[in-house]
């Protein structure tokens, strides 16, 4: 316990999103309760009065009988319900928060079935949760109820190297699976930036992407079969480890349903062979247009890089200050490009990419000489969001998609929006597939600035839709963008989708208040007062 306390203390003084997650992981591992920011009284009401007030509210909401039954089912160490315990579960990686009434930790599918039965009996809302790194509020109990954390269902059940298949419980951490099969020359291809913390169950719910999805696809392209418990208590096996299950593609429907159809208890995934060779290039540009034209021409020459990421000037400076990856401070944009595959092919493609960069006036093109240099360049990209956290009390990362050819116009528009609201906006994006992540810096203690931030974010998304894009590329709709769904779907489309949800989740007990706009959701984000002391918001991708 002492060791954990020391580590927590160190982490606490480190601050930042990653630190907070590390702290949560320790808490989970040691099954201890931690009061974050306990030494910052101005940020949280920890007075005896405040504590009892919260406790009274929770107690009133949480049926004592249900709690008792849950403890009976899972054991007392697998149910959290005290306010100080619940605080850790009231947020994810987004700016949204809502406190559950209790958090439960099943270990088996049978446990999950039991939890669902109890929720059903008591008509309690039920929300699944992996590592809580989601970026759209998918794992937040918007209307309270039971949060089912899969933290203890974290076993890899089967690795079939010969057939390149793995079967895992939902709480397995994304990068842990890749690490477990690396010695076999395999990996799990979807690689969200949070891969060291996020779980495969969470990836399935959100259909997560990542920088390397340009060539390897997103989560849905790698899921073969699911075991799910429906909120009605039914246990279903969807798909099969052998391809082409007869009938409708229910697996494909469930992946990305944001936890609104069922609780996933087992996942069968494809494993992908690690490429023989990888070349990472860093190209430095004096104008954004040169960088975007480069991306277009790489495609035109028939090359599909494994990854093609762009950072704008402001982000580069923030990152460099933090990571010291060797990014030049005075440029307008950089492209970070991976080509991989057969050694000979990679050599040729890297040379061609380098040529395209130079044709489009790259000031400099660096090719990483070894794994260490490659890791350093990628560290710069993967820590872009952490870097934003260092220079601003809070930041809000958006997730929009545009047709790649509209990149220059979109960036100009983001610049205008930044000036209109007087907010600093950095830009990091998966340039290869047109998936933007503008980072808006703000101070959440300033209510006006928070409202402006949300308004600016909405304007950016509206522009993406106008340009022929989408409101979310990989973060999901959740409770963040439910009100934006009418921008791309008609009432009839949404109603059909809701009817489909009704098949699996007829009473709406599972993850209520997500994806679809309803009277409560609209405007809620503007009206809701930010509770003092909400965890520092930070989003990454």
């Amino acid at each position: 316990m002492k060791f954990a306390a020391q580590r927590l203390n160190r982490i606490h003084h480190g601050a930042g999103f990653a630190a907070l997650h590390a702290a949560l992981a320790i808490c989970r591992e040691r099954r201890i309760v931690w009061l974050p920011l306990v030494d910052a009284p101005e940020r949280r009401d920890y007075s005896a009065e405040g504590y009892s007030r919260i406790k009274a509210i929770c107690a009133a909401k949480m049926n004592a009988k249900l709690l008792h039954d849950l403890k009976e089912l899972l054991g007392p160490d697998a149910v959290l319900h005290r306010p100080e315990e619940l605080m850790l579960y009231e947020y994810d990686g987004s700016v949204e928060t809502a406190r559950p009434d209790c958090v439960v930790f099943p270990r088996t599918t049978a446990d999950v079935e039991g939890i669902v039965r109890l929720a059903q009996q008591h008509k309690a809302p039920l929300v699944g949760r992996g590592a809580g790194t989601g970026l759209s509020g998918g794992a937040i109990a918007r209307h309270g109820g039971i949060v089912t954390s899969f933290a203890r269902m974290n076993r890899i059940l089967e690795i079939d190297a010969e057939n390149q298949i793995a079967r895992v419980q939902p709480g397995v951490v994304n990068s842990d699976l890749s690490a477990a099969v690396a010695h076999l020359g395999l990996h799990f291809a979807p690689d969200p930036s949070s891969q060291k913390a996020c779980t495969i169950g969470g990836n399935v719910s959100e259909n997560s992407g990542g920088p390397h999805t340009l060539a390897y696809g997103v989560t849905t392209n790698h899921v073969l079969a699911l075991e799910v418990v429906l909120p009605t208590g039914e246990l279903l096996h969807l798909g099969n480890s052998a391809l082409d299950s007869p009938g409708y593609d229910l697996t494909g429907l469930f992946v990305g349903s944001e936890g609104t159809f069922g609780l996933v208890t087992e996942i069968t995934v494809k494993l992908t062979r690690l490429p023989e060779a990888v070349k990472t290039l860093l190209a430095i540009f004096d104008t954004i247009d040169d960088a975007t034209e480069t991306v277009a021409e790489i495609t035109a020459r028939g090359i599909t890089p494994a990854a093609c990421e762009m950072l704008d000037g402001w982000t580069i400076r923030a990152v460099e200050d933090y990571v010291h990856a060797g990014f030049p401070l005075d440029c307008a944009a950089i492209l970070l490009i991976d080509v991989d595959g057969l050694r000979e092919v990679t050599e040729v493609e890297a040379a061609e990419v380098e040529d395209v960069c130079r044709v489009h006036r790259a000031r400099e093109v660096r090719v990483a000489r070894d794994a260490r240099e490659r890791d350093l360049l990628w560290k710069g990209r993967k820590n872009a969001f952490g870097a934003a956290g260092r220079v601003s009390p809070s930041y809000y990362t958006q997730d929009g998609v545009i047709p790649r050819t509209k990149l220059p116009a979109t960036l100009r528009r983001i610049g205008e929006i930044s000036r209109k609201y007087n907010l600093q906006i950095g830009n990091v994006f998966h340039a290869g597939d047109g998936n933007l992540h503008p980072i808006i810096l703000f101070d959440e203690r300033n209510q006006q600035q928070f409202r402006d931030t949300v308004a600016a974010a909405d304007e950016i998304i509206a522009f993406c839709v106008q340009a022929g894009g989408s409101i979310t590329g990989e973060h999901g709709v959740g409770m963040e963008k439910d009100r934006l769904m009418p921008l791309i779907f008609s009432e009839a489309d949404l109603s059909l989708m809701q009817s489909v949800r009704g098949i699996f989740n007829p009473e709406g007990l599972l993850n209520p208040g997500k994806i679809f706009p309803d009277s409560k959701g609209c405007g809620e984000i503007y009206a809701r007062p930010r509770r003092e002391g909400a965890a520092p918001s930070a989003r990454q991708s």
């Binding site: 057939n163 849905t220 035109a300 050819t405 059909l496």
Partner: protein, 465 residues
């Protein structure tokens, strides 16, 4: 023509114009499915017309079957009813194509070949090298869920279909997905429509991700005395760093069929299968040519084939590639014409179990004295075709016995097996969609949401849908 048929035709003519309605029985023969003829066929010219047609059919409870070039209509279970053929070939436009974004939006009736020509102009393509390529439409291909040998490298439509628009069984317009390569807004309803055989909705628009065209490719073939040896080459190949575009294993029967007269009609030209030693198993792979990598592919494939005990191998020159690839792609149409009563079982198991399943099916086919040919995909999906010499009761009994064993074996190995192609009159006694699965119940509920009146291709799909 009955009175009902006549009033149906009249009403359809009101919607799409009399020139676009067929009610003459002779002409309707082209729309026959499992020996059933519709009362009328209609060729709507717009999404709104489709919606009107479906609304009319829903109101009158008329069973509608959407179709394109009608290449795959013989797939699936027998229809419960068939009143109207909804021919989508007039909707054949490219709605948007942005080569720079690698995105494409098309109407369902556009023929794949015409589309391929347009994409080739921008050095791009869609990896839909499917059977009946010379006439198949995009919509029909997606609705039938047939796949291409290129699946080895590019996956199936599920991996590159970005979004869809469709008309539900009540005539409502609906959509899912979008026209960008990355998108997680809303449920992926479009994935349900792939291979749904028109039972959930009528596809009106399809959005795809396109791919840079392949540079020149080469074909590697090797022959083996046993399936086991050919499969060991498959295993070596998947564990190597090589990225093959296609990889298939052909049974001796398949080698014979692909080198035969029927095959030559489908895809003319000298094919390496002509040169394969008869009576042997063959391994067939396509690989890209790219500078020094070409020599490496050739060297390593040869080396791996020798290690796997091949009798003979060859790398095909450019003159032979198209026919070789084309015949492999057209395997199903070729076997369908190679017997008066071809039955094709689609089997899927984890690849390591292929050896077991192939030994078992070979054994049961031999015991029942039915000629067979199998094309085994590198990912574990095989087309096992039975080629009886007659279409009679005795043949049916033999074939049924074999199919039962194959379905049971696949189930035992936790695999899947269905019978996508089979003579019409034999369908009722075959498990076309394989054994009943627990999730069929959820599928029936889905069908009920999309098509509550049950007018879209009723009875054709899994679970009696």
């Amino acid at each position: 023509m009955t009175l009902v048929a006549s009033s149906t035709a009249t009403r359809l003519a009101d919607i799409s114009g009399s020139l676009n309605v067929i009610h003459d029985p002779e002409q309707l023969a082209a729309y026959e499915i499992d020996r059933m003829l519709p009362a009328a066929a209609v060729k709507p010219g717009s999404r709104d017309e489709i919606s009107e047609v479906v609304k009319f059919c829903a109101a009158e409870k008329l069973a509608v079957v959407p179709c394109g070039a009608r290449s795959n209509l013989s797939m699936g279970a027998p229809l419960a009813r068939y009143d109207v053929a909804l021919d989508l070939t007039r909707l054949d436009h490219i709605l948007a194509y942005d080569p720079g974004d690698l995105t494409l939006s098309v109407e369902p009736g556009i023929p794949l070949q015409r589309l391929a020509g347009v994409l080739a102009g921008h050095r791009q393509f869609l990896p839909l090298a499917v059977p009946f390529l010379n006439r198949a439409t995009v919509g029909g291909t997606i609705a039938a869920g047939v796949h291409s040998p290129l699946r080895q490298a590019y996956g199936t439509a599920r991996d590159f279909l970005l979004g869809l628009e469709f008309i539900t069984g009540q005539g409502a317009h609906a959509k899912s997905g979008g026209l960008v390569v990355k998108n997680v807004a809303g449920y992926d309803l479009h994935k349900l429509m792939i291979g749904a055989m028109g039972t959930l909705g009528v596809i009106t628009k399809l959005n795809f991700r396109t791919f840079p065209a392949l540079s020149a490719t080469r074909v590697f073939t090797a022959s083996f005395t046993s399936a086991e040896n050919a499969l060991s080459l498959r295993q070596r190949a998947v564990q190597s760093p090589l990225r093959l575009l296609t990889m298939d294993i052909l049974s001796p029967g398949a080698v014979e069929v692909l080198a035969g007269q029927v095959a030559a009609r489908f895809e003319a030209g000298p094919a390496p299968v002509d040169r394969l030693p008869p009576g042997k198993w063959a391994f067939h792979a396509t690989f890209p040519t790219a500078g020094t990598a070409t020599a490496r592919y050739e060297r390593e494939l040869k080396h791996m084939a020798e290690e796997s005990g091949c009798d003979w191998c060859e790398i095909c020159g450019d003159d032979r590639n198209p026919a070789s690839f084309g015949r492999l792609r057209e395997f199903v149409p070729i076997v369908l014409e190679s017997s008066p009563a071809t039955v094709v079982v689609k089997m899927s198991v984890r690849p390591s179990k292929l050896g077991g399943i192939l030994a078992s099916v070979a054994d049961v086919a031999q015991k029942n004295d039915v000629r067979w040919a199998a094309a085994v995909g590198g990912l574990g999906v095989s087309y096992f075709s039975l080629l009886p010499s007659a279409r009679d009761e005795q043949a049916r009994l033999s074939v049924e016995k074999i199919c039962e064993k194959v379905l049971a074996d696949c189930a035992r190995l936790s695999g899947n097996a269905t019978i996508p192609w089979c003579p019409s009159e034999w369908k009722s006694s075959m498990k076309i969609w394989g054994p009943e699965r627990a999730d069929f119940e959820q599928m029936r509920k889905l069908k009920n949401v999309f098509d509550p009146v049950g007018i879209l291709a009723p009875g054709r799909f899994a679970g009696g849908i």
